[in-house]
Symmetry: C2
Subunit: 526 residues, 2 copies
């Protein structure tokens, strides 16, 4: 049996006994086989000693049981690594940052506590997946949408706390939350926002409450265990329409992104989209690949034009009343018409609700608020998984071009200098910034993984030098990323550490999460 | 000369000397005349000993000077009360919570550091007022809007930190901020969000940064001194249109609010509005007043109908491309048409930019992003000011009716049992909740003010019993309001206090702000 660092075998075994008393013996897992299920299926440390492996897992069913687990952990100084459904794939899955941590698995806390159709919100526990909530709403015929990410088996709470994104107008998941219940490291239960008012009527309707608005400190953090969370839902819209815009020249990206920024900041476009470069996303074609490698932009533009493709492509999603959506598309076309050679195409158009047959025909249901696992079937890299390098960029064409150049170089450094690099989608997941998702494949090959990790670390630094920072990262790189957020000699990290020491003096909650180590491990680990 | 509590005359005089060395002797104020300017002009403690009066004021010009002031305050344990422009009227103005505090006046820090027209944001210091930023943008002809509250002489930073609101689609001012610079109680400077990345390209474009998102803890708080803050601006829209909806029956409020909630949660309506009850907001009329007092709803409805008025009135504001705005109004009318007897009226319609002459004709420029002091000329209570009782309510008709009943009773308790109560606007300032602003007048009469304060305190409790909590309050009532946010035996306050003790162990920053007292004053004051 593995042990948490610094914990004796006797103490650990006593702690496991007490966990079992708290949550039931069927819900404490310590056999190798059981514990193996909590390893990161796509770890970049495959076959290496460094792979962080939990020592055990404990799965409470209620908030009172979470309190007990936290108190026991404090008694024996057991590090806990909290997961909701454990699907944080590409970012570490269900595995801890610190080897030997006990996974605090909240999957049994899967209650949908309220769905309010009139005021469009839900209150859920961490074990509730997007599929669960969708099913609940669908079964009752409620006229509200959830906002699933790609894929939909993860937890609403987990995804929002990691500040993940979806596609509908509620795509910024942390922003769309309203009210939390949190178990602190000392076992105290706090309700945030209006939840601090007993008998509150607006816990899921007004975010801030009174006094300091604390919710943010529980995201991407190890300051507490979130046990309930409210989410704003989107009223089922009358219609969805998506229109495609292509522009012919490489340098058109400047105008394309600038007009898009104006539209989205104005509220004319409210969903998520991505800026796609056709040289890498067009159907595979040897001539195109050769032209890309040649670096002859003019020839590439001409070739794309001859194939009827643009150089850049952007789908604009519109949600709302049919006549509003139509007017928004019309206006968007007017704005983009200032770019010579721009072309428009209608992509998809729906009126809601869709019946099962209509839904089955939809290319991708996720932007229509319907969770799916389709992402595993198309477009994703296969086999052993990947790590997401995901920096945020300013919403400008310059940044898009610069990012492509940086990532093309990284691709060559990864060891495929003769191929054209794969495409890098540039997402408009967040309201005012772009996010790149650059997939670095994981192999069952120690040397390749070592090189990939070195390149990832190099990318973090290269991006930081350009003023771009990751919005989220794999557990393997949390220290590296936090290191570059170094203004005033790491003042933000000092602030995080001050709060950590005050809120969790024994450092039992998720040591190392997002680069925050408890005092006793700080020197060794950071 | 007044002294801060627990500070010797010698220490205080040494501290003032050091403040003068740090900021220049012209910027330390300690004469009675100077200090009097920092009193709350509309204090509810007029002529009473309890009125909190500062001992001095210090006005730094740079963030380095703020650091020095904070360090000096730590040396001598001087309580500092930070103000930006000091216009937090109805909530305490520029006066501290704790008598004898030194006002840390940031008015000299009035630099507009950046306005980015392409990505629609600004970075400003606390002394920048809405007028200042408007003028800056106007002088350069930039195509971005600010979102002023009523009135416009206050600070963007101060208003956002108090979680104030305006009228355009950027009306939730805290939500519209992006990135902060904060001086902590120990003098350390932290930049939040992407500002923690040196050379960041997205400080004003991506909010969360990496790791715990801490910005919220600096709002309505005493955990730091915010010295810079970014704000998202609204791209100048093509058009503004407002349409009025009236419905004839008292009970129509249920459908009216439900449809409004659907429209605003769908993003069809994006600005601020208010639900107005015509019995109290119609032009003064003795017969109407008599009917209100009679409690005969049917007679009241008939009378209003006969006068061509509805029972409830709602202006819907629309911002954006002209054709989108027109479609949004059309759709809204369709939705409200399910209410029998509903009537629609076009109120205002503009295309931007407006020239000076057009602007001069506008009824109220504030919803068009133009700051004003017009609120002091119309509609506001005169004379000695008022305190705002401002609870948040769920977005339902039931809540509106219940709130009216509660506040009518409070009006009678205030001592005017024979008049019809004044109107109580119910604002949709925040995305998913309603906010009432109930003005309780302040008099130059000790007994009346004592009664008003008792009634205010009673209202806080009455509201809490109904599940409504204040979103913000006057310094005089901060303890009372925080007291009702009492879930789990005041767990949220315990969390605030744990953070306060860690971040400001000597308790020098704004003791008492929002009910958070430093350790050494906690028992005595709370």
């Amino acid at each position: 049996m593995r042990l948490p660092p610094g914990v004796t075998s006797k103490d650990f075994s006593d702690a496991l006994k007490q966990f079992a008393e708290a949550v039931g013996k069927d819900w404490v897992f310590s056999s190798d086989d059981d514990v193996a299920l909590y390893r990161d299926s796509y770890t970049p440390f495959w076959h290496e000693e460094e792979e962080p492996i939990p020592s055990a897992a404990v799965a409470p069913n209620t908030v009172e049981q979470v309190q007990q687990v936290v108190r026991i952990a404090n008694t024996y100084k057991i590090p806990l690594w909290t997961i909701s459904t454990g699907k944080n794939l590409a970012y570490g899955g269900s595995a801890p940052q610190l080897s030997g941590s006990v996974v605090l698995d909240l999957k049994r806390m899967d209650r949908i506590l309220e769905v309010n159709e009139r005021n469009h919100y839900a209150l859920v526990e961490p074990g509730v997946s997007y599929f669960d909530l969708y099913q609940y709403i669908h079964d009752r015929g409620l006229k509200v949408w959830i906002d699933p990410p790609d894929p939909g088996w993860g937890s609403l709470v987990g995804n929002a706390l990691e500040r993940g994104c979806g596609f509908t107008p509620m795509h910024d998941h942390f922003d769309a939350h309203c009210g939390m219940e949190v178990v602190l490291a000392n076992g105290d239960i706090v309700r945030t926002g209006m939840g601090a008012l007993p008998n509150s009527k607006t816990w899921q309707q007004y975010k801030y409450g009174f006094g300091p608005y604390v919710d943010g400190i529980f995201s991407q953090s190890n300051f507490g265990v979130v046990t309930k969370m409210g989410f704003w839902l989107y009223p089922e819209p009358e219609a969805y329409f998506s229109g495609n815009v292509t522009v012919p020249k490489r340098d058109d990206v400047h105008a394309l992104v600038e007009i898009f920024a104006h539209l989205t900041h104005s509220g004319v476009v409210q969903g998520t989209t991505s800026v796609i470069d056709m040289p890498s996303f067009a159907p595979p074609d040897p001539q195109l690949a050769a032209l890309r490698l040649s670096g002859d932009t003019k020839a590439l533009e001409d070739y794309l034009a001859q194939k009827g493709l643009g150089y850049w492509s952007l789908d604009l999603p519109f949600y709302g009343p049919a006549k509003v959506v139509a007017a928004q598309w019309e206006y968007s076309k007017e704005k983009f018409s200032s770019i010579p050679g721009v072309r428009f195409r209608e992509v998809e158009s729906h009126r809601f609700p869709l019946d099962a047959e209509q839904l089955a025909k939809v290319r991708d249901p996720v932007p229509l608020g319907v969770p799916s696992l389709g992402v595993f079937m198309n477009g994703g890299p296969r086999g052993h998984g990947h790590m997401d390098f995901s920096p945020t960029l300013p919403m400008t064409g310059e940044a898009v071009l610069e990012a492509h150049a940086v990532l093309d170089k990284a691709y060559r450094d990864l060891g495929s200098p003769t191929d054209a690099p794969p495409g890098v989608p540039v997402f408009a997941f967040f309201p005012r910034a772009l996010v790149i998702l650059y997939w670095i494949p994981i192999e069952h090959d120690v040397e390749k993984n070592k090189r990939s990790r070195a390149i990832f670390r190099g990318l973090v630094k290269t991006a930081a030098e350009r003023g771009w920072g990751e919005y989220r990262t794999h557990t393997a790189f949390m220290n590296d990323v936090m290191d570059v957020y170094s203004f005033n000699n790491h003042a933000l990290r000092r602030l995080h550490e001050t709060m950590k020491d005050a809120l969790d003096p024994q450092g039992i909650l998720a040591p190392g999460k997002n680069g925050i180590w408890p005092k006793h491990l700080r020197k060794e680990k950071a």
